[in-house]
């Protein structure tokens, strides 16, 4: 088990290395000059050249990459070109908020999605099922901005149950998590539904019924845990989707997460920040997948991690 985790960590590290390389190359190819972004519109050509020189942007790609890696290994992610602050600090100040939101969103989408999936599977091909299917497609197709503002308008402005955006308390968390969760719920409900239908056909469900167990218990203890297995792998994948999709929700709710930072950095070619955010989100994704793989055997004893 330990060596398995170690091996997976090693693999993850390699993947991350690959990602730094690809991202670096892409940024190098990007036809936008960070030096000009720093120098501003009044700068002379010499000033720009001078800045390029100072930042080492004139060096060959591999030299720049090597330097970046070397610093990274020493725990130095560099300083933002535009904000001049340490990238690690910029990220550290925002990461907790991002993780919190992501966690809440995952919980929300699972709560909504799985509930709907379960009901739909149990009422398969009945009107309830069809209605829920339409709901899941609507939720998948809905633009987050619109959902966010609608929720905000109804629950924060009209009903006054929650603050109008911001960060800090549990009340602040509810609406953004709901917005993100709403989208994911559509996916999870569809997958949970088919997974449930599959499990409901299994022999052991019939055995459970033959034991005289109540319907609720059969669903909760026997069907659900088995049906949820394929979903767990999806949660790992989900983290990636959140990392890229979180920007809109963050800006609607004034959530001080990493998405905003990334978005602004990409807009203005702030390479150290882009690299840093990419690394962090890639790490989150890779760890998320790893976690999913590690959690699976806890639920399913058949999966041996050896």
């Amino acid at each position: 088990m330990h060596s398995y985790v170690l091996r997976r960590l090693l693999e993850s590290a390699l993947i991350l290395l690959g990602i730094t390389l690809v991202t670096f190359v892409l940024l190098y190819l990007l036809p936008a000059d960070p030096a000009r972004q720093i120098a501003g519109r009044s700068a002379t050509a010499e000033t720009v050249a001078n800045i390029r020189d100072q930042l080492g942007l004139n060096d060959p790609l591999f030299v720049q990459y090597g330097r970046y890696l070397w610093n990274l290994f020493q725990g130095d992610m560099g300083r933002s070109y535009l904000q001049r602050a340490e990238v690690s600090e910029l990220i550290a100040s925002r990461l907790p908020a991002s993780l919190l939101l992501m966690l809440a969103a995952i919980v929300t989408e699972l709560l909504i999605g799985l509930t709907i999936g379960i009901i739909a599977a149990l009422r398969r091909n009945r009107p309830v099922d069809h209605t829920l299917m339409i709901f899941s497609f609507v939720s998948i197709s809905a633009p987050q901005f619109v959902i966010g503002i609608l929720l905000l308008y109804v629950f924060a402005v009209q009903l006054g149950w929650f603050p109008i955006g911001g960060y800090g308390t549990f009340a602040h968390l509810v609406l953004p998590a709901l917005t993100l969760g709403f989208l994911g719920a559509g996916w999870y409900s569809r997958m949970m539904r088919s997974s449930m239908i599959e499990v409901l056909r299994q022999d052991f469900v019939r055995t459970a019924a033959a034991k005289g167990l109540s319907k609720g218990r059969i669903i909760l203890r026997h069907v659900l845990p088995n049906a949820i297995l394929p979903i767990i792998a999806m949660i790992g994948i989900d983290i990636g989707l959140f990392m890229s999709g979180i920007v809109v929700v963050e800006s609607v709710f004034g959530w001080p997460g990493i998405g905003q930072l990334a978005w602004q950095a990409i807009q203005r070619v702030d390479i150290p920040v882009i690299m840093g955010v990419t690394m962090v989100s890639a790490t989150a994704i890779v760890l998320g997948n790893l976690l999913a793989d590690l959690v699976a055997p806890l639920i399913d004893p058949r999966i041996k991690t050896k």
């Binding site: 036809p31 009044s42 050509a45 904000q83 402005v157 001080p256 203005r268």
Partner: protein, 520 residues
Amino acid sequence: QVDEDAPQGGSMIVTYKDDVATLDPAIGYDWQNWSMIKSLFDGLMGYEPGTTTLRNELAASYDISGDGLVHTFTLKDGISFHNGREITAADVKYSLERVTNPETRSPGAGFFGMIDGFDTWNAGEGEGLSGIEVVNDKTVRITLSRPDATFGHVMALNFASIVPKEAVDEKGEDFGRDPVGSGAFTLAEWTPGQRLVFERFDGYHRAGVPKLDQVTFEIGLEPTVALLRLQQGQADVPGDGIPPAQFLQVMNDPAQADNVIEGGQLHTGYITLNTEMAPFDNLDVRKAVNMAVNKDRIVRIINGRAVPANQPLPPTMPGYAEDYEGYPFDPEGARQMLADAGFPDGFTTELYVMNVDPNPRIAQAIQQDLSEIGITVEIRNLAQANVIAAGGEKDQAPMIWSGGMAWIADFPDPSNFYGPILGCAGAVPGGWNWSWYCNEALDARAAEADAMTGPENAEAREAAWRQIYLDVMADAPWVPVFNEQRFTLTSDAIAGDASLFVDPVHIPVNYDYIYSTEAE
């Protein structure tokens, strides 16, 4: 006109979508932190609140020698930084050398090019700016290498703010996170991505200023949401303005419309026509394009939040040519002109545009107008950095709509619209002169105009600049489209002279002079 005796006390909340990049006056160069820095720092010069009139700020007096080359500033007495230390002439020299030091990588270094010794110092050689001389504790003498009428304005730029060396040395690159200046406010709290809190600086050199005890900036709020907050009484000024989508809604509601203050802005939105790329190397083609764009309709598309423009300078800028008619909107004539220029069937070209609303919409309007005269325009909808990069290449972007990146003057002087965006200096790879328009005769005249220093020459200088811009228009490297108006929405909780809410150098509002209606 500004009520200097307004009561002190109270607080206000300003909202912003984007986080504040930095509060280092040598580095901050976007409209959001521009006025924040103005409230945290002071330079030798400043502006009368709500106007474009220069006044002495930290300087008690400002003398210019007859030839316009030597500028002598005397500091006020008893002025100190937020850390309590008294400001001396050495701080002025240090601050100006810091901003021009290549190591600082300041985007504003280029403004100080007229100071003697700039070229060597900025190239990383020598020991500071030779043109700056500390005469005594209170007096500093700055020698220019050429006479420059804009120097007073340059000294009022944020980049010329006075900073304490010990604080900069201590904080290093993090000075922008933890600024120490001598402005009306001090930074009390900065939670990244969430909020900044400014508090009154009790030792401020102007009595009775600032009016407010506290200004809170709530960060990360989408403009639509900021508006909701304001409507709920949870914010006082939406820093990003009224969101375009809600503009009409607000203006149609008399209660809210009452709280909207409209004003001009030193801004021009324009289309650059790359004079180095065919077919825009043909003057008639450029003129035809100028005649084809229906500016009235574009203004209507953005709900009338601008006025049509016909020349580079905005109307509130000295040197604006009131009686200039510009190119008339005349598609028929434009088509004829195009045919005469050898393009009876038009041609196909590209229009680069930044991808933030309303710019793509404006680009589509332009596209439709040009299609009327047979020009097929393909729109390239890109992130800001990519558009800027394309503009800096000689042969990449035939047309660029400047919206979102458009020129807003750094200081209220006509020269500010020329150098980087219309002069030869900007027409280099990586420059901001996206039309690649380079008229050396005009450049020479511009230099001459800037050399006309002193109040006695002001009128002549203005006339010279006016003519320069009219001559630029004769070559039609741009299609000036509109000058954006400012619409500032406020809550009832704050007040002040209307000019403070559309202050030309403080966007969105002049934080120092606005007061709270709840204050005694």
